[in-house]
Structure formats: C-alpha cells, structure tokens
Amino acid sequence: MIGSGILHGLAVTAKNFAGSFTDPARLVTVGYPEERLPPKENARQFPFLVFDGEDSEAGLRCVACQICEKECPPQCIFIIKSKAKKPDHLGKPQFYPATFDIDFSVCMSCQICVEVCPFDAIKMDQEFELATADRFDGLLRHKDRLARPNSYFQKLHPTDAGAIDTLRAAEAEKARIAAAAKAAATASESTKPPAAPGPVS
C-alpha cells in the first residue's frame, strides 16, 4: 500500500523519540564536560615519572640511565644526571635525574620510553585537558610536575601497577632477606670464637 511504509517509519521514530527520555540506550550522548566516559586502562596521553612513598625526590624510581632519552623518536626528553647518589627501594645507591624535562608539544605518545625503561620509572598518564595559551613554556614539563605518586599509578593502571608492585615487593623481600642473612653472617662472624685450630701436623 502506498503510504504504509511511511506509517511504519513514523512509528519507529516515535518510539525512538519517546525512548530517548526513558531508555539510556536511546540517548547515547555523553554530555561532556559535565559527564565523562571513564578512560580505559590502556589509554595513554603523555608520560609521567613514578615515585614511591611520600617524598617525590627521595622515592623517585628514575635512576637517570638515559635509555628513554636515547630511544625517544622525536627526542623530547632531556635528562641531566646528578653528581651524587641516593638509595633506591633495594637500598642500593643510584644516580638520580637532577633535571628531567619532557616537551609535550613534541611528544607523540608512542610509549617507547615506557617500554624500554628497566626500572618502571616512567609510565603513561591519561590527562588530555592540557590546553594552554603559551606554546613554549606551557607545554614544557619539568620533574616537579612530571612526578606522580605510586598511588596515582595504581589508580590509572591497576593491573600494571599491581604486577609491578608485587615484583618490587618480592625483590625488596629478597634483598631484605639477603641483607639480613649477610648481616647475620657478618655478625656471627665477628662474634664467633676463633676457629679451633685443627690438628697441626
């Protein structure tokens, strides 16, 4: 019948219209910026540096090995190694970066720095609302703004952070046991009576 298809179509659109007020599947728009979609775990924007504990200087995992600086394709990382050393989470003295700059206007979010870092010190952040009026200094981030606590890392990437934390905890435990055993060995060495002289022939 001429016109029956039109009436069918009118019914479909009416259902869509009415449903858009009640059924969330019929109004799929997310009203940014009031509402936001939660970011996925693998979403990535620009890098940040991880530090353990409260102090961003003392707990910084980065040891200034400069592998990320060399591997970065657009060369947006600039590192100056420190002169002195500080102990890492295993107690071993390591260098640390006196200056760690990343130029966000150059960074292309390829995540190569994250992949090559042997110390899980640099990870990808998910913040994208970085618009600024100053295109030189506004997008050049220094160590103070790049450093974020491990709790932040756990919030962003729970799986990754969880795996890394277990690993680091295991390493720390092993190091502690080794250190304790060594300490016990040195202690017992010092307190042990001198060895009984064996039969001297």
């Binding site: 019948m1 001429i2 039109i6 179509g9 009118l10 479909v12 659109t13 009416a14 869509n16 219209f17 858009s20 007020f21 019929r26 109004l27 799929v28 728009t29 009203g31």
Partner: protein, 392 residues
C-alpha cells in the same frame, strides 16, 4: 470564558479608542501588523529550536542544550550570529537583484498572515470576496524571488538549485490549488472567515462540522498538507536546498542576515500554508467537539498549528529525501489525479445530502479508493517487493 476568548479583540479596541477618529483605521491596521510581526517570527524561533531538539531525540542525541533552559534560547544565539556575520556578495553577482531576492521571499508570507482568521473575530484583513485568492496569490509571488536568488548569485549550482526549486514549486502548486477547490465549492464562498463559519455546524450533538470529517475533506487535507510541505521546500521535498545535494541550492551565495531572511521566509511560508490548511480543513479556530468550546478560539488555532508543526518535524526526521524525478512523478502522476478525483467526491457528497451519513462516506470512500488501489497495483508492478538475503 468568552472574555478570555475575546481578550485580544477588546485590548485592540481599547488601544484604538485612545486615538482620534481620523487616525483610528491607521492605528487599527498598525496594531494588527505589529501583532503579526511580533507573534510569527517568535513562533519561528521557537519552532527552529523545537525542531532541532525533536530531530535530535529521534536520532538518539540531546540536541542544543547550552543556551537557556534546556537550550530553548538557541534561536536568540542563532539570530545574533546571523546579524553579526559579514555580508558577502560575489563579485560577479548582480547586486540589486541579489539584494531584493530575500525581500521577495519574506514579504509574501507575511502578507498571507493578514487573511488568516486566528480566532473568533480575529482576522487582520477580512476579504469577504477573495480571501483565499489573496492567499494563493502571495504564494505564487515567492517563485519569482526564488528565481531571482538563484540567478543573481552568478553560480551554476545556485541556478540549478533555483530551477529545481521552481519546478518543484510549480508542480506542487496544482495539487495545492485543486485540493482547496472542493472546500470553496461546498462553502460557496472564497472568504476564509466564511469557510470557518460554515464548519461550525454541530453534528450528532457533539462533533463539529470540520471539513476533515468528510471523505473529500480527509483526502483533501492529506493532499493539501503533502503539497504544502513541498511548497515550503521542506523534507522530504528539500532537494533544491539540501546541504548534501547541492550545497545550499539557490541560497548558496547568501550569508548573514540575508540567509536568515531566507530561512525566516521558508518557515513563515510553512506557518502560513499550515494556517490555511487549518482554516480550510481543520475548522480554523473551532474546537473538534462542542463541549470543548470553553477553550479560547485563538488557543485552538495555535494549538492546531503547533500540532501540525510536530507532525511536520516528525516527517522530517523519518523520511529520506525524494529525488527530483520521484518528486515530479509524485506530483503529476499521483497527487494531481487524486485531487481531480477528490473534486468528483466533493460533488457527490453535495448531491447526496439527503442520504444517511454512513452511505455517503461509503460512496466517497469507494470513489477515492478505486484510483488509489489502481495506483498501488501500478506501483507494485514497477517496484516489486524487495527480498533481502542476509549472510547468516
């Protein structure tokens, strides 16, 4: 409730009475003009926002929701934007004609509102002899404006769009005019006020004598409103001005305020022709049932206008655009013959007035259904039902 019904009339008489008798006709005319100029552009603004939000909801999105409560002041923002945009005229364009074309498109619909009775005793210009003819005359004056717009832009796409728009306007004018002829025939007068008054007969104690409640009125209303949508260049008949087809058709080269005037003219034309359809077929300012007569007449008229706008927006959100040849074929090979058959049905209705109502409806319905079913057969032979095979 009669006081509420006549509130605007009494207000107008009050204001006119303040002036000396010499100036009174002028003041009365000025008040009517002012009222039309105030109400209908405001209605236009609200309709644009309503349309955007309704279309958006049909398409699973919220529509404009930033400006004003739930986005309903969007038309103010759009108006300010149009007014402050730079007015660009192409170098090779014909400046005078380019300037005059929006005026020739906007002024006729404003003139047309003058003869529409929007309430009891509320018509700006009561032409007892030729009300309907005045309306149809201003409808045809728009065509020249469309041509002027397309030709003066010195742009082949504008010209093509103007030619298509003109072809469409001319083709759908015939079913439009022919579908109004039964109304004139059975009312015996071209006066719009008289047509509404003729429909104030009450049948069966409660049903008003709207022309819609007759077979020729129902068919005539359907034909009229389809032709009205086509005359107003509205989806699904908006090929001449669709963005994805021909940029903006005949108003490609217009920017800023002139574009806003075209837009305004198009919607005002839609209101005007809907108002005419309401007057001719839907009883004007009359209620559908006599026990609802306590609601003011002007509220009924604008309520029906709002209802029609909702239907038009609904159609816009549902139907895809008609191609030019489909459009022309529809007008000349379906609407025109059905309009002619409708004339016959109207004549039959008039001459069988002693018969019982059911029998008259049966006769009218049969005479209308016969060509409709024949068209169905021809259509199905030309376009057999498609079978879709899906990959399982």
């Amino acid at each position: 409730m009669d006081a509420l019904d006549a509130i605007f009339v009494t207000l107008k008489h009050l204001v006119v009475g303040w002036f000396p008798a010499l100036l009174q006709p002028w003041i009365s005319a000025l008040i009517s003009i002012g009222a039309i100029l105030a109400i209908f552009p405001l209605l236009f603004g609200l309709t644009t926002v309503l349309e955007r939000k309704a279309l958006a909801r049909i398409q699973n999105r919220p529509g404009p929701n930033r400006v004003g409560p739930a986005g309903f002041l969007q038309f103010v923002a759009d108006g300010i934007k149009s007014l402050t945009k730079e007015d660009i005229v192409p170098r090779a364009a014909d400046r005078v004609v380019h300037f005059l074309a929006p005026l020739v498109v906007v002024i006729p619909p404003l003139l047309a509102f003058a003869v529409l009775p929007v309430g009891r005793n509320m018509v700006a210009l009561d032409l007892r002899e030729t009300g309907l003819l005045f309306f149809l005359m201003v409808g045809t004056a728009v065509e020249l404006g469309v041509f002027m717009a397309g030709w003066s832009s010195h742009n082949k796409y504008s010209l093509l769009g103007a030619m298509r728009a003109l072809a469409q306007l001319l083709s759908y004018e015939l079913p439009l005019l022919l579908s109004t002829v039964p109304v004139v025939m059975l009312t015996g007068s071209l006066s719009l006020v008289g047509i509404v008054e003729k429909q104030s007969v009450v049948h069966g104690g409660f049903l008003m004598g709207w022309n819609l409640f007759t077979p020729w009125g129902a068919a005539g209303a359907v034909l009229f409103f389809i032709a009205a949508i086509a005359e107003a260049n509205r989806s699904p008949f908006d090929l001449p001005e669709a963005e994805s087809e021909i940029v903006a058709g005949y108003f490609t080269e217009y920017s800023g305020f002139k574009f806003a005037l075209f837009f305004l003219g198009e919607y005002l034309g839609l209101f005007a022709v809907s108002g005419l359809g309401i007057t001719l077929f839907l009883g004007g300012w009359l209620p559908p049932f006599s026990f609802l007569a306590w609601i003011p007449s002007w509220l009924w008229f604008f309520g029906k206008l709002a209802g029609l706008m909702v239907v038009f927006i609904w159609l816009r959100g549902t139907l895809p655009r008609l191609r030019m040849d489909q459009l022309m074929r529809f007008a000349w090979q379906f609407l025109l013959p059905m309009a002619l058959v409708n004339l016959l049905v109207a004549g039959l209705w008039h001459f069988t007035s002693p018969w019982p109502v059911a029998l008259r409806w049966l006769l009218g319905g049969a005479v209308l259904a016969a060509p409709y079913l024949m068209f169905n057969r021809a259509f199905e032979r030309r376009h057999p039902q498609r079978t879709y095979r899906y990959v399982s």
